[in-house]
Amino acid sequence: MKSALKLLSTGLVVLLGSGCAMAPHPVEPYVNRTQEIDVADDTLVSIGNYELMESLTARLKKNDYGLEIADRIVFRDTAFPNGGWQLNELLTPENCARTISETGVTHMALIGPAAIEEEEIEGYYFPLVIGGMKADQKLTLAAVIYDLRSQDIVCRIESSAEGSSLVAIYIIIAVGTWPLTESAALNGLADEIALAISEDMNGEPTKIVLMGAESPTDDTPLTADVEAEEFFPFPGYDSTLTAGLSRDEIRARLGTTYLFSNKLQLDIFLSQYAIKSDLRTPYDMLGYPEVDLIIMAEYDRDGTSTSIAKHAGKDFAVQTDRYELDFRRRIEGSAYDSNRVVTTLVAPTIASMDSLATDVSPQQCLLVIHGMDEYPNLVHQGPDRKHWWGSTRLNWRLDNKSLLDWKPKYNMLGKPTGPRPRPNSDLGQLFVTFPLSKGLHELRLEWDMQMPDVVKFIECAGGEIFYVSTDIARPHDGWGLVPKEQAGDVHINATWSPTKPRRVLMHGGKWFDYEWHHSMP
């Protein structure tokens, strides 16, 4: 007993001594040069985020890379004597020659805003008593280096760092660690900038300037696609659709009476555009052999949701609505051509809904969950700011097995970080299918926030498809105005039997017949 008390008192002394210490812990940056960083056409050149620029400058000077760092304001005022700050105006041969002669700067590193990925805080605690918390953070910086002499891009660099904050609380004492993600990413970027310029100049002393990149239409003028690459599970497939095809040509290739071809024949050439990390969870599910995934985008008759993107110097058209968060910056300023290629389909395993039906074994059923692409729409707020529609987390459970655990990663306000997706756009339907054995199954949709769980029972007799949709984000009259009693309604439309095949037509604007969708018994 005495020893226990002694141990306890010693522990308390140690804890008290530690106070509210928050120890930083270093993390390693991941730095790579990638062609996947695009510069928006409407990019403005600014003097940038002061602290970021000063930190980069300090790092470059400290490591004595043989680089002279020019004053940002002097450079900007020389390069843009009339203001405007348009990158395109700077990068003309005449303007560059004049700027070089007046400032001596031959290379410009254009630094994009920091991109920060925050995970939810995890852990348990009783306020001010005891507990532990953790939050993951990933910070990414991107830079594009220009040789002003040729107006060419020397290289595109991305530097990111990832780490966790850990906090433990003992009575009134907290101890924890902060990851030094910012300084790690920043140092990695600075070092790579220096290396790239040194390579370009064969180690000769060079005068450079660090400038900020801004976009009138977005806060992320430099965009990196490594996320999509990382999570895209089908490397090596070539597109059969190329940029510049007309809609008719695309339709001729894809056909009009089926949705997808087999085995990615229907192209993933814009995978990095069409499939963003909103859909990461379904992608992860591809790791499970029993899961099939079909992701589709659509053609838009009036072209309002079709836009042009630039990638690797080529024009592509992409959907902008559902995946607009990362696309929009690419398309602003591009010439709009509604006849260009519309984005892509991914069909890893299933040829079409028709063949899906015929593929169902009489010994089993299929559960098809549709509409996950709508989930980002679930998080929004009523105009009075007092009513909260939707959920911040969704999970489908089939027989108590988790199928999809979806969490939005919008900003801290729970709002999209970019322009709001339009409702009723019917874009990018997402189907995920699961095999069902014969018998009774429980399907549960779990939410947090204000919605109770939705539980449905499915009786599989064999050879049936159970089609499930969450008709949540279908407001009639605008974004965020879904009546609460309608929000969260779950339709389970069963018995899409092979004996009664339904042809799914691509009616220009829709992948499947909405009427059909609702009229199923």
């Binding site: 304001i73 005022d77 920060i116 001010l128 939050a135 953070q137 904050s165 906090v167 729970g414």
Partner: protein, 155 residues
């Protein structure tokens, strides 16, 4: 999904975590002096103040965009502009009750095309009310006259 948010917001996330842990007080006490730098947002040589319009950022304004250039209060406290018409956007974010917003944060944005006069100094404000009728107010005043020239002032 890459969520692109400003370093300021990232900092707030950290602060939020700390606040959850009861350490906000310690952070507050540690202090965080606002910078007094002025962002020169006009081309050419330095001009005297009587030939410029100055935009000041009040404490509760997180960031502004002037003519599509972003200026964060963590970096600058004011912006020097040539007189004339400018597009001014600003936003403020507040810690709120989860009854107001389940995230615990609420944000409001404002955008105005404003004619700014030479020799005048302006202040961009943001504030909120609490309790029933909670709202966020964003407004712009002419410092010389005290008049609200844009936005909706806090009652």
């Amino acid at each position: 999904m890459i969520m692109r948010i400003s370093p300021l917001i990232a900092l707030r996330l950290k602060v939020r975590l700390l606040s959850v842990l009861g350490l906000a007080l310690a952070l507050t006490m540690s202090g965080c002096a606002a910078p007094t730098r002025m962002y020169k947002l006009y081309p050419g040589p330095e001009l005297p103040s009587e030939k410029l319009a100055i935009l000041n950022l009040s404490d509760r304004v997180d960031q502004i965009r002037v003519d599509d250039i972003t200026i964060r209060r963590g970096n600058y406290s004011s912006v020097a502009l040539l007189p004339g018409t400018h597009k001014i956007e600003w936003e403020a974010e507040f810690l709120v009750s989860v009854m107001v917003n389940p995230s615990g944060w609420d944000k409001e944005e404002a955008a105005h095309i404003q004619d700014l006069l030479a020799g005048h100094s302006y202040t961009i404000h943001a504030d909120r009310t609490t309790g029933p009728g909670y709202d966020i107010y964003l407004w712009l005043t002419d410092d010389a006259t005290g008049h609200v020239i844009a936005g909706r002032p806090k009652p």
